[in-house]
Symmetry: C2
Subunit: 114 residues, 2 copies
DNA sequence: TAGATATATACCCAATTAGCTATATACATG
DNA sequence: CATGTATATAGCTAATTGGGTATATATCTA
């Protein structure tokens, strides 16, 4: 599994995304990370292992604690991959803007706009 | 499965990312999309279904063909999610820059730098 | 050294996934 | 209408995943 595979796979789980979001505020122990979830400690440890294997977190040692910290570089790579598509979605948003403009100017059509 | 789950899960596969990359150039039929891969046609159809369910492509009808086109909006959402982390990785890159600067100024340390 | 606390590992299970082959469906054309 | 072309679906399998419980390991502290 290459880096991008691992990064996107790790991000595909909401528990793992929430853990990463928490780590924006700084290091945290497994207990602290587990607290918001109604999930067993081993399950959280498993999620942390997925994140660690993907290079999205690294871990230290503080007595019994193994504090986790965010390693954002793989996220930067994922972001770069997504950047290739930016022109396209901005194009789409322009079209959406145009549609919204038309709807304001004229009567609403009631048409699905998906 | 929410939108972000579905988007990231879809992006976790290199075949699917390659298909999306191909679609930047414009619409393509299933045959055309399958051509670069040594993979059966049904397997490609399955990947396309994953992309479609994630809202990353939509499909038309042109005689027997079901042309696929890119729908980049969910990618924009994924990008927005990643933007939260930008400050952090840019911080890391600064630190890396600082390290590189130090290495240029002084002697290399030979230390592992991850 | 004997707990207590924090974390990891082993193992089980059900669901999902990614591939395959065989077959069905949709449409075009001779 | 018969055949060819494009695509989808069904059904199989092996591997992976995400959850759980029980237990092991590591470290502090009394």
């Amino acid at each position: 599994m290459n880096q991008l595979d691992a990064t996107f796979a790790a991000l595909a789980d909401p528990t793992r995304r929430a853990i990463l979001a928490r780590l924006i505020q700084g290091e945290a122990s497994v207990m602290e990370l587990a607290e918001p979830f109604s999930m067993s400690q081993p399950s959280i440890s498993k999620h942390l292992k997925v994140l660690e294997n993907a290079g999205l977190i690294s871990r230290g040692r503080d007595a019994q604690r193994r504090p986790c910290r965010l390693e954002a570089k793989p996220l930067a790579e994922a972001n770069e991959w997504l950047e290739r598509y930016r022109k396209i979605w901005e194009g789409n948003f322009q079209r959406l803007d145009a549609l919204l403009g038309a709807l304001q100017a004229n009567k609403p059509t009631g048409e699905a706009e998906q």
